[in-house]
């Protein structure tokens, strides 16, 4: 079933909307959530919560891309859960992705509070400035939380080429953020 048909089911308040969404995007959402939480049970709950959010928001929303809309909800819910677990010290292992991203923080501005909207815009500009393959690798790693070997398999690049691409992108992002005066 295509996305428009699924969206119609939501608009018609037809509960098959959920099962069709699960069929089409369930594995992807679980993968994102698991990439953040490293916990199958927690990922399952986040995915189910994402469907509930979707059900409650469409209508009135009519997203241009159902998949991007759903994945964003799922990613945000998973991050919230991750943060909550960390705050309550109830597990939630240190996320390796975050450690990698710490390399992008402009030097000497590690403790500055930053403007999320400005950061979002800087990230958009950064993504627009890099090669499509690098962008795809970067997105797979830091947005979809895929493992390096998965990215390698998906893209046909070697594991070391994926790592190298990520390292270059992180360095470039750091430079871009510095250039844009983050933290100053």
């Amino acid at each position: 079933m295509n996305d428009n048909d699924i969206l119609e089911l939501y608009w018609d308040r037809d509960e098959r909307a959920i099962s069709e969404t699960e069929l089409k995007y369930g594995a992807l959402c679980r993968s994102i959530s698991f990439g953040i939480l490293s916990d199958k049970g927690g990922a399952e709950e986040c995915v189910n919560d994402s469907y509930m959010r979707l059900w409650n928001s469409i209508p009135p929303e009519r997203p241009a891309s159902l998949c991007a809309y759903l994945c964003r909800i799922c990613r945000n819910l998973s991050i919230d859960r991750y943060n909550s677990l960390r705050r309550e010290k109830r597990g939630g292992r240190s996320l390796a992705l975050l450690d990698e991203l710490s390399e992008c923080i402009p030097t000497s501005h590690e403790s500055e509070v930053c403007d999320r909207l400005a950061l979002k815009e800087a990230l958009d500009r950064f993504l627009a400035s890099i090669e499509p393959v690098s962008r795809s690798v970067f997105m797979k790693r830091y947005w979809f939380c895929q493992r390096v070997k998965e990215i390698s398999r998906d893209t046909g690049l070697s594991v070391s080429a994926v790592k190298m691409s990520l390292m270059r992108s992180r360095k470039k992002l750091k430079k871009e953020l510095e250039k844009e005066g983050f933290g100053i």
């Binding site: 594995a27 990230l123 993504l127 998906d154 046909g156």
Partner: protein, 409 residues
């Protein structure tokens, strides 16, 4: 700014980027669903190498903790936990000069206005052609540029604008490739530029009916490999297409060759021929794709399947997973109890650090006494009561969790 700020702000980025990357991930995963009983398992399983899945090594295997007759002990026969799965993450530690292997230290040079990068692969004297003088070989120790002078030679049969060999301080010649990005317009141009039909063997391949699981691994003879190049030559006018898109169109029926060439410094690259008419490869530093048409692709696939012979099985990667109990100057000890069904059968292995990539992780990296590690080695464990591993080549630090072993490389 905190690292969390970047990670969280990524959620807000322009939908186009999500959509584009997501379309592909979704397409990828969707194809897996048809193959695996559990969608989650499908999306989370690493299929890049059988070695990453512990059950392959544990199930049904005969226990062998006693000395075998030939004095060799195979860890493949350890009875590993059946739900073990290794998750790899990565960091990008930049090692200081002393910890960089010799063949990776000087990795770029300039000759007659062309910049070359190293493939870090040695090339035998028999492949070397005429001398091309000397050049300054360059590398970085963090931000400090390091240089040394090195002899340059042609590589026989290859255009020196594309490939040369440079002698590094260890005395060996290594393959360097020209970095000028001048994408070929046709498959014929691509093949001719590096004389791939002469130097790249298309003999080892996997066949995929659909999705990610191959039906097996097969080997063709040299004559059959040549025939495939002939068939590809018939499609020499096939136009280059956007690599990015072709990759994602190529998950259906296909054969995927494991391409290797000493002369080109190529190891373990992919040359894929897809039923839907696409050919794509990463044998060069950039990915290239060509559309040869369904008919020609089908003919090549059919030819490979007709001549494939028996499934030769997957290449084994030998490893142990365990806890580091002691670190010395030349070796360290690993107790493999955590990875076993029956921890009382644990063995303490002595792992020698002859390989710099293992040594640096243990002596200058994050591996400590108590760390959980996965060590890859060539396959030989001498069973003289000490269980010594002398050919380790890769180590990953990780976490042991209830449902498996997670790497935090």
């Amino acid at each position: 700014m905190k690292k969390e700020d970047i990670f969280e702000a990524l959620s807000d980025i322009d939908e186009t980027y999500i959509h584009r990357a997501m379309e592909r991930s979704e397409k990828k995963r969707h194809s897996s669903l048809f193959l695996k009983a559990g969608a989650l398992a499908a999306s989370l399983m690493i299929v890049a190498g059988a070695a990453f899945l512990l059950p392959k090594f544990g199930e049904g295997a005969e226990k062998n903790t006693e000395a075998s007759n030939d004095g060799v002990f195979w860890t493949d026969k350890r009875e590993h936990k059946k739900d073990g799965e290794i998750f790899e993450t990565q960091n990008a530690r930049e090692w200081s000069w002393e910890w960089i292997p010799e063949n990776e230290r000087y990795y770029f040079l300039r000759l007659d206005g062309t910049e070359y990068s190293s493939r870090c692969k040695a090339v035998g004297e028999e492949h070397l052609g005429e001398p091309l003088g000397t050049a300054e070989l360059c590398g970085y120790n963090e931000d400090e540029l390091k240089t040394t002078e090195g002899e340059i030679r042609e590589i026989k049969g290859l255009d020196s604008k594309k490939y040369i060999a440079a002698r590094l301080p260890d005395g060996n010649f290594y393959v360097f490739f020209g970095r000028d990005y001048d994408p070929p317009l046709t498959l014929g141009e691509f093949i001719e530029e590096a004389s791939l039909d002469e130097h790249l063997s298309l003999s080892l391949f996997r066949y995929y009916k659909e999705g990610d699981e191959s039906t097996g691994r097969y080997r063709l003879g040299d004559a059959q490999s040549s025939s495939i190049w002939d068939m590809l030559a018939d499609a020499k006018d096939a136009a280059a297409v956007k690599y990015d898109d072709a990759v994602w169109e190529s998950l259906g029926e296909r054969i995927s060759f494991t391409a290797a060439s000493e002369r080109l410094g190529i190891v373990n690259k992919s040359f894929r021929i897809c039923k839907n008419g696409y050919v794509f490869t990463n044998v060069e530093e950039y990915g290239y794709a060509f559309y040869i048409g369904e008919e020609q692709a089908g003919r090549i696939i059919e030819y490979c399947l007709e001549n494939k012979g028996e499934d030769i099985g997957e290449e084994k990667k030998h490893f142990i997973i365990g806890t580091v109990t002691e670190i010395g100057t030349d070796s360290f000890k690993v107790d493999d109890g955590i990875s076993l069904e029956d921890p009382s059968e644990a063995i303490v292995f002595t792992v020698y650090m002859d390989d710099i990539k293992v040594r640096r992780e243990v002596l200058a990296g994050d591996v400590r006494v108590g760390s959980k590690v996965c060590v890859y080695y060539g396959g030989l464990v001498l069973n003289d009561g000490l269980f010594e591993i002398k050919d380790s080549y890769e180590i990953h630090e990780g976490q042991y969790r209830e449902d498996g072993f997670y790497w935090e490389e």
